[in-house]
Structure formats: structure tokens, C-alpha cells
């Protein structure tokens, strides 16, 4: 299967900070979750793949084009949908105007077809009823859906979503998951998130990053399996555990290397994620 993204040895530094360190990655159709603690390099990787910043070193192609060339970068941008972290809005624009504006910047130039496309994506994210409302009058969730519509306009083949559910209430988050799941049908979606539930529910693949490197690349089930036999229950927090917390049942759920005879529990994706980080950010 032809990968949408093929990257090898990507590195990026911001001053003295190494944001990406020799990252290699192949992405194909479906939703890929990108997990990692703050400062892991998730946003940096997304920005490099979205052609927002060039890498210092490395080789990669997106949709078969080389973003290192002006022509290649333009071709990538033509087929890219990007939802940045905490996206900005033009408050005086209506939802329709904002998405239309983005559509123009994506070089959708046929006015009739463009407006049809804008209406389509606004309908897809459930904003048809408020498309004439100014963005300043919309709720945070509606604005976020407007931003998703802007990312979806033009039917991009590669969709990059940077923490799209941050700040949303549970109901809005569920709505957003539906949208992302729908968006992932027939295209490649790279979803950066802190929410392991998002990955568990949406993604057919997960990449875990820490300190600018890829720590895990596989399916959610494989990530969960990493914690197989490494999660146990105890009456007190086990001092040998890499992470442990009191559950609603009053017992402690411990993650790490269990003592002999420990009461093993069924692992979750989050357990696998925590163990993959190897304690680097578990304490946080």
C-alpha cells in the first residue's frame, strides 16, 4: 500500500532544544493517533509534515511530493487539511466566510463550486444552521468545528489535527470523535492528542513520542499489549510501580513490573502508553 507520508531521519532544533530527533515514520490511510507528553515533539512533527516549518535534516515525502521543493510543497498544501492547536478565528467573519476564505487560500477558485464545497463541509460538521453567524457569537465547540470544516474543505487527502478536542466538554468531544472518525474514511488522518480514549476509540494506529523521538509505532491493541502482565491491583500504592493511583474501588492500580503473586489486571491503552514512556513523564 502506498504510504501517504514517508519520513526518515527527521530532525529539528529550536535554539538549544531538540524538538525532533531522527524521527522515521510511514503513514497510510486511516486515523493515526500521535500520543506524547507536553514537549514530546508532537506539534513539531505535525508542523513539519504540514509544511509549516522545514526540518533541519531528514528525508520525507507527503502524498508522493517532496516538500523540500517549492513545487512539491505547493502540491502537498493543495491536498492537505491542517487544524492547528488552539486555532485562531476572525471574529467578524461568519462561519461560511471563514471557511470560504480558507477555501480561496487553498486555491479553490470556481466560486460556485467553492461555495458548494463550503456548504458541504459545514454540513458535514453540523454547522449548516449557524453558517451565517459571526464566529464571535459561536460557542467554543462550534468554532472548533468551523476550524475542522476549514481543514476539511477541498477534500484533503491528508488531514493533520493538532489536539482538536482540547477545551471541549465531553459532549462536544464525543461529537468531535464522530467527525474525525467520519473524516478518516478514505483519507489519512494524523491526530495529535493527550487523550488516550480518543486514540482507543478512533485510531487504527498509534505513534507515541517522547523527547523528540518515536517510542512506539503500532496498533492500539499492540500498545495495550505492551502492558500485558504489568498492571496489578494492591491495597496500598506499590513503591516499586512506575505509576500508581487509587481507583474508585478504594484499591490501587499499579503499572510497572509487578511483584510475584500480584493481582494482575486487564491492561488498557493508557497503561501501555505510560509504560512506553518508561516513566519519563509518568510522574507528571
Amino acid at each position: 500500500m502506498t504510504p501517504t507520508v514517508s519520513a526518515s531521519g527527521l530532525s529539528l532544533r529550536f535554539g538549544g532544544t531538540r524538538a525532533l530527533d531522527d524521527v522515521s515514520l510511514r503513514l497510510s490511510a486511516g486515523v493515526t493517533g500521535l500520543l506524547g507528553p507536553n514537549g514530546a515533539g508532537k506539534t513539531s512533527l505535525l508542523r513539519v509534515l504540514a509544511t509549516a516549518v522545514p526540518a533541519d535534516r531528514g528525508v520525507f515525502t507527503v502524498l508522493g511530493h517532496d516538500p523540500g521543493t517549492s513545487r512539491g510543497r505547493q502540491e502537498v498544501r493543495r491536498r492537505l487539511g491542517y487544524l492547528p492547536q488552539a486555532p485562531g478565528f476572525h471574529p467578524d467573519f461568519t462561519a461560511f466566510e471563514f471557511v470560504d476564505y480558507v477555501a480561496i487560500l487553498k486555491e479553490l477558485t470556481d466560486r460556485t463550486a467553492r461555495h458548494r464545497e463550503v456548504r458541504r463541509v459545514l454540513d458535514e460538521v453540523g454547522l449548516t444552521g449557524v453558517r451565517g453567524k459571526r464566529l464571535r457569537k459561536l460557542s467554543g465547540g462550534m468554532r472548533q468545528r468551523t476550524a475542522l470544516a476549514a481543514a476539511l474543505v477541498g477534500d484533503p487527502a491528508f488531514l493533520v489535527l493538532d489536539e482538536p478536542t482540547v477545551g471541549l466538554d465531553p459532549e462536544q468531544r464525543m461529537r468531535f470523535r464522530e467527525l474525525i472518525a467520519h473524516a478518516g474514511e478514505g483519507r489519512t488522518v494524523l491526530l495529535s492528542t493527550h487523550q488516550t480514549e480518543d486514540v482507543a476509540m478512533l485510531c487504527n494506529r498509534v505513534v507515541v513520542m517522547a523527547a523528540g523521538t518515536v517510542r512506539f509505532d503500532g496498533t492500539p491493541a499492540e500498545l495495550t499489549a505492551q502492558a500485558g502482565g504489568r498492571v496489578w491491583s494492591s491495597a496500598e500504592r506499590d513503591p516499586g510501580a512506575k505509576a500508581g493511583w487509587r481507583t474508585g474501588l478504594g484499591t490501587y492500580r499499579n503499572v510497572g513490573d509487578p511483584p510475584d503473586g500480584a493481582d494482575l489486571l486487564e491492561p488498557t491503552l493508557e497503561d501501555g502508553y505510560l509504560l512506553t514512556l518508561d516513566g519519563a513523564a509518568v510522574a507528571a
Binding site: T2, P3, T4, S6, S8, G9, T51, A52, V53, P54, A55, D56, G58, V59, F60, T61, L63, G64, H65, D66, P67, G68, S70, G72, R73, Q74, E75, R77, R78, R79, Y82, L83, P84, P87, G88, F89, H90, P91, E97, D100, Y101, V102, A103, I104, L105, K106, E107, L108, T109, D110, A113, R114, R116, R120, A147, A150, G154, D155, P156, A157
Partner: protein, 530 residues
């Protein structure tokens, strides 16, 4: 590592085929989007409303209904500056919008690069500029269609309004690209206004004065169009060149142009940091635009051409050599070529004054000579010297309003004294006859009396305005004229005709004049120079 991949070739919905043509189509689409936003911004809407309202209100009564089109073209220049300032402010806000609302992170990865977006912002100015051009054309057309219109407008002068708006708009774009602050545009407005105050000073000389978009004159004197000596075409070129230079500079400072360089080494996708602008065409265009600007700026500061100076001298000193004359009812009317259509208006006044004097002046030959003092250019304000040839009366280049009764006074003065120069020095009872002859035939004699007096009064002593030397009415003259103007015209006219010889005798006293016209001697003072 070498990776072989295959691009997905399905085009985005609604997209034009990729390539430069699609990019320019997107620029035009964005320009249309931004233009709609610009024209509906409150400051721009208000500015256009004020501009249109003021233009309609002013043009209804401008030039007293008798415009000289070489003045009317310049009258279109100042008001568009209000629109220009609003456009500067609003377009600057539009350019800064992405930065202000933090959408740049998102828009930076969209297909249309920043420099093309800047081009779209620049193009979004075009509708506002065209709208101003339509307003300018409408204002000028309205003047040109007035029945009393004479002369010729200059396309160069008419372009100043729209070009000023274009220049201010491009400055707004450039400043927003240079200084990412919402305060940049207001600060620029203050600086421009401050500079314009000093640059407009006449002592700064033409070179500085002509650097401003709108260059006014310091006189209301109307000159034949060939004498204006204003470098209108060069100034339009200067403004156009400057606007183009600023626009191209804004494109150049718009950041990423051609994108990141390909790095060393082989294989796809080797990416290096670094941004640069590689627009040789834009650089060349900027160089050309700056050259045009300099050409316009230098040439417009050259001063008045020698031929124009000579023509000004000819028009001022030997107008008869340039005029066309026509005779009507014993009066010869000599007008400069652009004013021949105004002869009818002059003849109406002459006939009215002559008819009041009756048989006494029926066969008196009279020459109405149009004159202009053009030696000091449109900025000059020098008065013309009175004519010394007998039976010749001066008429100026403006008409309508107060100019009509003033001309009537001049005609009456020559009919009474025989010479314009003598009429200017009147200080006896003849002035009463002159003023009655001039004003009694009008529709509103008393109102005309106040109009021709410098202080708009109808009592006491006052100077009477004239195209040449002013006349001086004593309080006694005013008293008698006021009494005569309220009496039946036929009654006073009969007395004037019957006593013409004595009424027009030099040194006739005011008391004697009163007696001859059936009035009591005036009670007010009768001393010239009061």
C-alpha cells in the same frame, strides 16, 4: 533513504487546475473577498457617505453655476483624501487580521503564499479607487453640464483623487507588512497629516509642495487653461509611480516568496531552513516604478515652462491679440477663446445698465474687454490695473454670484466717467449715479448693493469690490443710493436721463446730485477716505 511513492491525483473540489493560472485566479478571488470586506468597513462606508454627501451639496452651488472646468477639475481632488485615509486604515487592519487573530499558523500552510495574499490586498483597493474615480467623474461631469460652464479640464488633475486613494491604500498595506502593529496605520496618518501641513507651505517651494498628493493653489483666480502651468500629467505619473513602488515594496516585504531552498545532496525531500524572496520580476518592476516616480517628481518640480510664462505675459498685457470680438447693440465683446460663450451673460448686464441710462448713452460705443492678470500664475492674487482707453471696461474670468453686480458697477462707471481708470478714482456725486445704474436693473437691488460692498453692508462708508481698482462709497453716497433703489425705477431713470450731463460732470457734489435726482441732501458724512 530513497522512497518511491505515488501521488494521489484527485483534485480538490472546486479547484482550478494547479499552476500559476490557478494561483492568480485565487489571488483575484481573494481580492474580491477582501474588496467586499474593505468596502463594507465602517470607516470606509462613513468616508464614502461624507464624501458623496459633501460633493453633491457643494457641486449644486459651486462656482455660482458658472464653472471654469480648469478649476472644476482641481475641485475634485481634496475630498477623496478622506476616503483615502479610511482605506489606509481599513486595509491595514485587514492585512494585520491574520496576525491579530492568530490564524497565521493555519494560513501559512495553505496554498496561496503570503506575497500573493499581499497582491490580493493591493488589488482589493481597486474597487474603492474606481468608486472614487466614478465620483470624481460624476462631480466633474456635473460641472461640465452646467449651462454656464467654460474651459477645459485636465485628465491629469482628474486622476489625482483616485490616485491619492490608491497611494494611501498601498501605504496602508506596506505599513501593515512592515510593522505588525495596529498602531502603525493611525501613526502613519498622523505623520502624513503633519507632513502635509509643512509641505503645503508656499515658502517650501514647488519641489516639496508637489510631493504631496494634492497640491492646491493660493488664489481663486481663474486662468485660461493653457496658462495654469501646473504639471498635472507629471504629477499623475509621480503619484502612479509612487503607488506602484509602494505596492511592489509591500509584495517584496511579504516574507516567504519562492519558499525554502532545496538543500545539498541528492534525493527527494532534503529540507533546509531559510526563507528568501526571489522575485526578479518584482525587483525589476520596483526599479521601473521608482524610476517613473523619480521622473515624475523631478519633472513636476521643474517649474513653469518658458512658453507658459510668455503666454501668461501675452494674456496679461496684450489680451487683444488673443481675443475674439463680437459686436452686439453697439457694444463690442472681446473674450479669450475659452470664454466666447459667456458673451451673452455679459451682454445681458450691459444692456440692462444701458437701458437705465436711456438716450444719453444709446450711441456710446463700448468695448467689454476680458482681462486676466496671469503673470504670477494661479498662486498670484494681484489686482488688474484699470483700463485707460476710453469706453473700455474690464471683465474677469469668473462669473456668477457677486461678479455680476460688480461687472455692472464697472460698466456703469465707464458709461458715467468715460474711462475705467477715472471711474476707479471717483470721489464725488457721480458715484451715486454709477451705483444706481449698476444696481437698479437687477432683481434684488438692495441685496446686490450689499454684495458689491466689501463688508456686505447697506449703510455707512464702504469699499466697492471691483475686478480692477475698488471704488469707495461715502456714507452720504450710500444713503442716497439706498433711497434711490427703493424708488420706482422709471421715475429715477427719467431724472437721470434728463440730468445726464450735469450728473456725469466731474466734481459734481453729492448734494447737487441729490437735488438733481429729487432727493434731500444727505445727512451722512461725504468724505472719501473715511
Amino acid at each position: 533513504m530513497t522512497t518511491t511513492t505515488t501521488a494521489i491525483v484527485t483534485p480538490p473540489a472546486g479547484a482550478a487546475p494547479a499552476g500559476p493560472r490557478a494561483s492568480w485566479a485565487a489571488v483575484l478571488a481573494l481580492a474580491g473577498f477582501e474588496a467586499r470586506g474593505l468596502l463594507t468597513r465602517l470607516p470606509v462606508l462613513l468616508a464614502f457617505a461624507v464624501y458623496a454627501g459633501w460633493t453633491v451639496w457643494r457641486t449644486r452651488t459651486s462656482f455660482d453655476g458658472f464653472p471654469a472646468l480648469q478649476d472644476a477639475d482641481r475641485a475634485t481632488q481634496t475630498a477623496p483624501l478622506l476616503v483615502g485615509l479610511a482605506v489606509l486604515f481599513s486595509v491595514s487592519q485587514a492585512v494585520l487580521r491574520s496576525r491579530r487573530y492568530d490564524t497565521e499558523r493555519h494560513f501559512a500552510v495553505l496554498v496561496l503564499p503570503p506575497w500573493r495574499r499581499t497582491v490580493a490586498h493591493l488589488l482589493s483597493l481597486v474597487p474603492a479607487v474606481l468608486l472614487v474615480a466614478v465620483c470624481v467623474g460624476g462631480q466633474f461631469g456635473w460641472e461640465a453640464l452646467k449651462p454656464g460652464a467654460v474651459g477645459n479640464g485636465s485628465p491629469g488633475e482628474l486622476l489625482v483623487g483616485p490616485l491619492s486613494v490608491l497611494l494611501l491604500g498601498t501605504l496602508g498595506v506596506l505599513f501593515a507588512r512592515l510593522f505588525a502593529s495596529a498602531f502603525a496605520a493611525p501613526l502613519l496618518l498622523v505623520v502624513l497629516l503633519f507632513f502635509s501641513m509643512f509641505a503645503a507651505m508656499p515658502q517650501d517651494g514647488d519641489a516639496i509642495r508637489w510631493l504631496m498628493p494634492v497640491v492646491g493653489d493660493y488664489s481663486t483666480r481663474t486662468l485660461p487653461s493653457e496658462l495654469l502651468g501646473r504639471p498635472a500629467a507629471w504629477h499623475a505619473l509621480y503619484l502612479a509611480g509612487l503607488a506602484l513602488s509602494v505596492a511592489l515594496a509591500a509584495v517584496l516585504v511579504s516574507g516567504e516568496g519562492a519558499g525554502a531552498r532545496s538543500g545539498s545532496g541528492s534525493g527527494p525531500g532534503r529540507v533546509l531552513k531559510g526563507r528568501f524572496v526571489d522575485h526578479r520580476g518584482v525587483h525589476a518592476g520596483l526599479a521601473g516604478a521608482v524610476a517613473l516616480t523619480l521622473l515624475g517628481a523631478v519633472t513636476q518640480a521643474d517649474g513653469v515652462p518658458a512658453e507658459t510664462e510668455k503666454a501668461r505675459m501675452r494674456y496679461s498685457t496684450t489680451p487683444q491679440d488673443l481675443q475674439k470680438c463680437s459686436e452686439r447693440d453697439g457694444t463690442t465683446y472681446c473674450a479669450f477663446p475659452e470664454w466666447t460663450s459667456r458673451t451673452d451673460d455679459w451682454a445681458e448686464v450691459v444692456d440692462r445698465v444701458r437701458s437705465l441710462a436711456g438716450d444719453a448713452v444709446r450711441d456710446r460705443p463700448l468695448v467689454v474687454r476680458q482681462r486676466v492678470e496671469a503673470r504670477y500664475g494661479p498662486d498670484g492674487d494681484a489686482a488688474m490695473t484699470p483700463l485707460t482707453d476710453p469706453n473700455q471696461v474690464s471683465v474677469g474670468t469668473t462669473w456668477g454670484g457677486n461678479r455680476v453686480p460688480e461687472f455692472a458697477v464697472a460698466v456703469a462707471g465707464v458709461l458715467v466717467t468715460g474711462k475705467e481708470a477715472e471711474a476707479s478714482a471717483l470721489c464725488d456725486g457721480r458715484l451715486v449715479t454709477v451705483m444706481w445704474l449698476a444696481l437698479a436693473g437687477g432683481a434684488e437691488p438692495m441685496a446686490d448693493l450689499s454684495r458689491v460692498r466689501v463688508d456686505d453692508s447697506t449703510s455707512g462708508a464702504a469699499v466697492v469690490i471691483s475686478e480692477t481698482e475698488p471704488l469707495q462709497m461715502t456714507a452720504a453716497h450710500t444713503e442716497l443710493v439706498r433711497e434711490l433703489l427703493v424708488r420706482p425705477r422709471e421715475e429715477v431713470g427719467a431724472k437721470v436721463t434728463a440730468n445726464w450731463t450735469e450728473l456725469t460732470t466731474p466734481k459734481v457734489t453729492t448734494d447737487r446730485t441729490a437735488h438733481l435726482l429729487g432727493l434731500d441732501a444727505p445727512e451722512e458724512a461725504d468724505e472719501c477716505g473715511e
